[in-house]
Subunit: 514 residues, 2 copies
């Protein structure tokens, strides 16, 4: 057992690296034509939830996949375990499923067990538009047929990228509210705590809570997902704090006391000099605001801290306005430099049923009632970490280039007539900024110099040294790039567009069916 | 490094067990009243996607959480690491977040590092209705305030339970189609391969692919998620095979050849004596059916195996019927004992955009056109493993009972006026079958004998011996219980209903706000 770590029987030791792909990929070494070289790449194919007005996205997450899976050395034991599995995996006879055993043995013996492909990737946190290649995989010589073996793992980049993008889009909404109604506007230090991660328990697994929670922390510092806050701080940021939270009640706390008043008075005793939150709907939210808040007001004011009221059911716009009215009535309001009311030592957090649309509706209603956006914070749980999927930004990996055994080569495009959204890009590619916008180019032809190419080698038949930025630097990069990137842009360069036309023309001429 | 396992820096060794909960839970040891004992329980609060006509669900997944997280021994290092984290986790000053350090030290020293609560749970694979407690947590004496610490982890049971239930509901639809149009009806051996797991890459993480993929395998044996098929076979089934698949092309395979015809001919060379699948929409699906299928027919027939045609874009009902028509035209059909057409040596699999509704629509259309349901299989990716969330079956953990320091005790119910769906059950509970239906009772009062109680102790301030069934046995249990359980049932026993009334009456009398 690793010190302070999990027992050796944890899932990553129980499942060998040699089966971490889709079954059909194990058969592909026989399905491809003989080749000297193959190239595939990954791209997001749409804006968030098909948004065409703002297609920005935050490309994030390849470091984790590289460090934890891709750079792992395969051993003979991995192959033995694979063998015992593939031996009975074929339907319907539970017989030997075809898999590239000889290639596995070869790279275990001749390449130190490292998976024999090269991977280039965009820098972590790059803000881009759909269709920009985020990674490119190259396989050569005897290992050419392994080009897409890692697709299944690498595709999982969709998840942290999607959460980071969702969280950032929510921040855009909050920033607008802050610009209108908060002193300091979007530069207010309060902004970073306005969207709080409530999503740990709504995740499917602990690993997800880390990956998704960290992606949110690229944009905000508010998080109750401690697995992620810990990981971001100690693994990704040299120990410097990344996420923070406050003491808060849940229903079990409120209902464990004879009355809600006693529950809150106890919170004031322990946490009353700082920030603390109380959920208010265990029995009757309106009564709790009308009776309990006034009843604890004196003690709360004497303690001097900041109390956050939390509705947790009912219509969120209505329940938030009710809480703000109660706060104003009991604690009073100040009016800030922009003319908006700020309840004294009291705020509201809504954590039930939040998505970006509802968040936006709530902020509008709060501001329309004359309150500052700073009076309200939001918690997002499943909405932040789980209610997304690979289609949210339409991620896919596609083959783009092949050099056949005879040395002839061809640029490849998938282009299904039945769904033009599933068109892929042809050839070996590079990515260069054009007027600041990451743009896809053919790698050859002199369009992109090696220094300009944003696709950097992060793995080359084994680990390579990558200067991963720490988390503080990543946050700055994201913030800067997100604001600098136009909301939409044309990202396929003219020479790549020309190549696409050429490939389509060639295909029409050659008739690739038969 | 564990043999064949991952490097020591994997995520489960990098994040200590002491932070695997929500931040606010770290503050709860100070937020609860002093108590001798606390009891909480977990329940699903609704049928699948709010279905009220069939509220059955398959309770699954606690074994994994127990074996991998709950039964882990905490060490002093875990507490040191927690300390270094909590020290800067409090907002806004990045100062010490309150957490139960003394209690941690105490159970590390006095309880061998085992988390000091008792957990009872339903047997894995139990088929139940919402509101039946699936686990119950008891904490006592000095450890009473740790009662809900594990809620965050235990709540993750929502995920495998939801996937298992979704997959089973899909099987119900398939069973109906089989009963109508397939020889042998729902007992046909083909049924188990009709819903194939395509979801690995659409998962957020590898851990999720295992947990979700295994949940699907409770109902079906078709899976390309090898991480799960491996885990189910070697960790949960003593090495006996659980999941199977067939060689198949992806777009990269079809487009890597000069023509689709050559790609398929190569498949026939390597896999043509068995089952194999080819994706058909890389360029023009209709043309591929019209030109390529006839062109490879002779070789395919000579090889003698079974070819599966896969559309992957366009309207799924239409594209499937097109494939069946093409198969009939090229290979001919037999008519089975129920009068439905079965294409000879050829079938179709639809893996794009499948959910239960679409699956049902497709089957209806296929059968209406005179084809047997066995001619079509389905692949489900994100729809199976990712497009679910904690709200799909509305899972929650709630406090239900407390014994205060003075020995007085009270049964607790959350019952928010603003959402009666969030009502919880009061008191310590037991679960007993009534006419076969798992039903919730008060634990005391003689309603349920220890032998009858389906809530079994699975952890008692440390690991206890649990006779986990192997995966084959679990599958049988699920199949039997699912068919035996009525689609809806009243699961709150009369004495528990009476207790709920009593608690509500007491509360009205006592006015719990102030």
């Amino acid at each position: 057992m690793a010190p302070g770590g999990f027992a050796a029987q944890d899932i990553f030791s129980q499942v060998p690296i040699s089966v971490l792909t889709d079954s059909y990929k194990a058969s592909h070494f026989l399905s491809y034509p003989e080749a000297q070289k193959m190239v595939a790449y990954g791209e997001f194919r749409s804006g968030y939830s098909k948004d065409t007005a703002d297609t920005r996205l935050i490309c994030y997450g390849i470091r984790y996949l590289l460090e934890n899976f891709i750079t792992r050395q395969w051993t003979l034991l991995d192959i033995e375990r694979a063998d015992s599995f593939y031996r009975t995996h074929l339907a319907p006879a539970q017989s030997l499923f075809p898999y590239p055993k000889e290639l596995f043995l070869k790279f275990v013996k001749e390449n130190n067990g490292y998976f024999p492909v090269r991977i280039e990737a965009l820098p972590e946190g790059s803000c881009i538009h759909p269709h920009v290649p985020v990674y490119q995989i190259t396989s050569e010589n005897e290992y050419a047929p392994l080009c897409t073996w890692l697709e299944t793992l690498l595709t999982m980049m969709w998840y942290p990228t999607t959460v980071a993008t969702l969280s950032r889009r929510a921040k855009d909404v909050l920033e607008a509210g802050f610009e209108q109604s908060v002193d300091g506007g979007r530069h207010s230090p309060l902004l970073g705590s306005r969207l709080h991660d409530f999503g740990f328990r709504g995740c499917t697994t602990v690993e997800q809570s880390v990956i998704g929670g960290v992606a949110h922390l690229l944009n905000f510092n508010g998080s109750d997902t401690m697995s992620a806050a810990y990981y971001a701080q100690f693994v990704l940021n040299n120990g410097r704090p990344v996420g923070s939270s406050i003491p808060a009640t849940e229903h079990s706390v409120m209902t464990s006391w004879p009355s809600e008043k006693e529950a809150i008075e106890n919170m004031i005793i322990h946490f009353g000099t700082g920030l603390f939150a109380c959920v208010m709907d265990s029995y009757d939210y309106a009564e709790a605001l009308a009776e309990v808040v006034p009843a604890i007001a004196q003690k709360k004011i004497e303690a001097g801290g900041f109390m956050v009221l939390r509705p947790d059911s009912g219509d969120p716009v209505e329940t938030i306005l009710m809480a703000l009215d109660a706060a104003e009535k009991v604690f009073g309001c100040d009016v800030n430099s922009k003319g908006y009311k700020v309840p004294r030592g009291c705020g509201v957090i809504q954590g039930d049923g939040i998505d970006i649309q509802i968040l936006s509706r709530i902020l509008d209603a709060v501001i329309a009632k004359g309150f500052s956006a700073q009076a309200v914070a939001f918690g997002m749980g499943g909405g932040l970490l789980q209610k997304v999927n690979r289609d949210t930004l339409s991620f896919a990996t596609k083959l783009s280039h092949i050099v056949y055994a005879d040395g002839s080569h061809v640029d490849i495009m998938k282009s299904p007539k039945s769904d033009t959204g599933k068109l892929s890009l042809p050839g070996v590619m590079a990515v260069k900024r054009v007027n600041g916008v990451p743009t896809a180019f053919p790698a050859e032809g002199g369009y992109v110099s090696p220094e300009e190419n944003m696709l950097r080698v992060v793995y080359d038949k084994g680990p390579v040294k990558v200067d991963w930025e720490d988390f503080d630097a990543l946050r700055k990069r994201v913030d800067t790039e997100w604001h600098a990137l136009p909301k939409t842009a044309s990202v396929i360069s003219p020479p790549l567009q020309q190549k696409m036309k050429d490939v389509l023309a060639r295909r029409t001429a050659e008739h690739p069916h038969v």
